[in-house]
Amino acid sequence: MATTPIRRWRRMTAIALAPMLAAAAVAASPAFAADDDTSDATLVVGKVGLNDIPHLNPLDSGWVVQGEINHLMYDPLIRWSQEDFTPAPGLAEDWEVSDDGLTWTYHLNPDATWSDGEPVTAQDVVFTIDLMQTNDILNSRHGGLVDQMTSVEALDDHTVEITTDEPSAIMNHLNGLMPMPEHVWSEIDDPGEYTGEPGQPTSGAFQLTEYSPGERVVLTANENYWDEPVAYDELVFQSFETTEAAVQALQQGEIDFLDNLNPEQASALESNEDVTVSIQPSRHLENISFNTGARTKDGEEFGDGHPALTDPVVRQAIHHVIDKEQLVDIILDGNGTPGVSWVAPIFSEHFWDPGDERFEVSAERGNELLDEAGYDERTDDGIRIDPESGEPLNFRLQYHSDRPAYADIVDFLVDWIGELDIAVEPTPMETVPLNEELDAGNYDISTGGWNYGPDPSEDLAYLTCDRLPDEPEPTDLTFDFYCNEEVDALWEQQLRATDSEERAEAVKELQQIVYRDSPQIILYYDHAIEAYSNDWTGFGMLPESGGTIARQQGDYGYTQAVPADMAEDAAAGDGSADDGDDTAAASDDDGSNTGLIVAIVVVALIVIGGAIWLVRRRATAHERE
């Protein structure tokens, strides 16, 4: 196998070219970095679940992500205040209600304009409410709000008068009422089918520039925004299939902000000095829930829940053995607050603090309760027996297998509840089949999680008797088939309270009853973990004192963000805050010059390939037939 001269030549060329190629690639990166022409400051937000949203119709919005995007483009009549979730001016700068609590007068901000320069008028509001009342699709979203309005009138360009058939608390909280521009929307054939068109005039801080379903949403800042224009040019929501991939993109500088992280991802990011991790209270809670007896409104029973769980005493006894503090420490690593009832503490106006009524963690107290209530007989295995049905207290505990935290929680629960001489059989299940079983009432105890919204009417409605099904059929509209007339009365009271304090009282009292009754046990309110690139600063939390940046019912999170170097300039009193080149640097330093590297590599490969082929041809010419 002697090496021919030609083969040696070829090998040497290859050896010589390889490092040259690598060198070219390396040299290219700094050389072309400055050339990269994306001169606008762009905040790139990574979103897992962006592809869940069906469209960008602001009036037909059912997703948290969609809500975030809506708030960036359209201002509501009334915002949630960033301080404490109380009503704050939006497009309406103030409003009042008549003494009978039925007639509301809203005064629009005369400075408010659409992004095309037209003023936002009372007629726009009337037009939008009319759409929500008459369009089937839009009405199915907003019926709860607008169907109670018996008359909606524009008194002048900036005053709207709305009359409701009964007093209504929500009229103080019109965060869900985003007017659309009549001068454009009246020309849309079917506003129910509107899917989001680039360039539509908006009343908010941004306008839509691109919507690629399942890929990304690009918003451009509205320079003439009537309220407070943002400090950058463009906001991109980039879709990711998994949070893992998004974490890597954040580390690599492809995105600037990411929410919904788990503790492992947070600790991976904490070691990155270019990234800030923000761990703050959220509106999310985890709970266990008891099948309080699946039945219809008429009392026809269905499902296969354990009869003993319809007895509040059994649920209260279990409440006594659950050490929520320990769960927060161990499961959440301290990043959470022990649970009380459905309203999370960030909603300070409505949060109910149990004080002395808190269930003391005491197996002794739990056992006492059970003994007193007649659960004193035991099976041969030492399990208590339900005196009424004669069945041993042997509960199934179905939990979501795709949430790792649940498996850990369940281990604790089995031990703790065991101290009451109650047996618990844990069964992990996939979310979809598990939810089907829950809806059909085929469970005893289950795990669950919930994002409590700021408006109590919607979420607490799940605890009212009205949500029991008419027929013995599965339903996801009730929390564990719970029904209590006192709760119903308080829910109705808060729904009709036009005075905020009165409403808060009713909401708190309702929670107190539910806490005592324990149809669910709220384990904890977990903190949200979010992370952002240090190229950015100033993200607005809701509430300000400590809350999330993403998933708000408002636009504070992203609109208050500022490119870090611009913030520095401002701090240094430079004043040249709108210097375009400066802001560009914020997002550009990890820009993609790499495309050029690839180009060079590709071209080099072709050249080398061609050269080798030529050499080979010549080398083998004498051998060819």
Binding site: D37, G62, A249, Q252, A461, D588, V598
Partner: protein, 367 residues
Amino acid sequence: MGKLSTTQASVSPPGGGIGAGDGNGNDLDGDTPPRPERSAARRELWRYLAGRISGAAVSMILVLFSAFFIFRIIGGDPVRAIGGDSPMTPEQRAEIEERLGLNEPMAVQFWEYVKDLFTLDWGESYVSSAQVTDLMWDRLPNTLLLTGTALILAAGLGIWIGARAGWKQGSFFEKSQVGISLTLWSAPTFWLGMIVIIVFSVELGMFPVNGMRSTRGVADGFWPEALDVAHHLVLPAVTMAAVIYAQYVLIMRSSILEERNNDYLTVARAKGLRDAVVRRRHAVPNAMLPTVTLIALQFGAIFNGALLTETIFSWPGLGLLFYQAIKIPDIPLLQLLFIFFAGTTILANLLVDILYRFLDPRVRRSA
């Protein structure tokens, strides 16, 4: 079997022309079969084609029927998924159910489905209410780019390595290359994808993590955009090729092994050709046949996308579309994609069967 060379097989059957009454005695060398023989062969060809095509049609009909049921059996609640993650009232639920036609009995839904099949109306996506065909055509080019690139890479690399490995059986090259390709073949795609991302994107920062375009955009114009896509294409294409190229290595290797000791190669060597030339010009072309089949079969697969690869790299192709749809489940979209995937595969199989008949005379003889 492997000894049957092309030349041997294409010789007409001895005596084939003798019994034919129309023989005019012109074909002295017996190479040209007389006419009746030819028309018999043609009839036989048509019979063969008809058999294959009707087989494919039966498969296709089964696919069309199962597409309706398969996605309804897997369960899931599209209404819940479409309504959003905020609380949904009974009115909303009812409205969505009616809009999607889910409140109709199953038999009515099936009847609607069959009717729509005949009018080629594939319906609207539950989620975006766009025509599902539009969604599919939008994503198809992206998938073709990824899978096409990966297939070319895999086939090129696999054939090259396989030929060398088979030629030098027992060598270090053979053992190591077969080992490497089999290891990659057995690696789960999602695992390999994650490793590739961690090493090349996160640690080395050479390639982007996600998607097909830069999140911050690039300069306008064809070249910057094309380069941006190419840059995003590297990792998914390489990952996908790494997983599948082993098939080509193994098939090429074993068919080269069969050819290796054939007389015609001895002849070629006796002509004084270099070993590499003997392999490249004589052995490889004869050993290509099974590989061609594999490529043709995979040709169907390039339409199917690469569900796992596309999902890991968020490559906006058909695989990712399917993955996104199945989470809902978006039944009209799933039906269309399922039928499209199955249809292209059936078609590719059919084409292979037909092509094979022309490529490999042995099939013609045995049919």
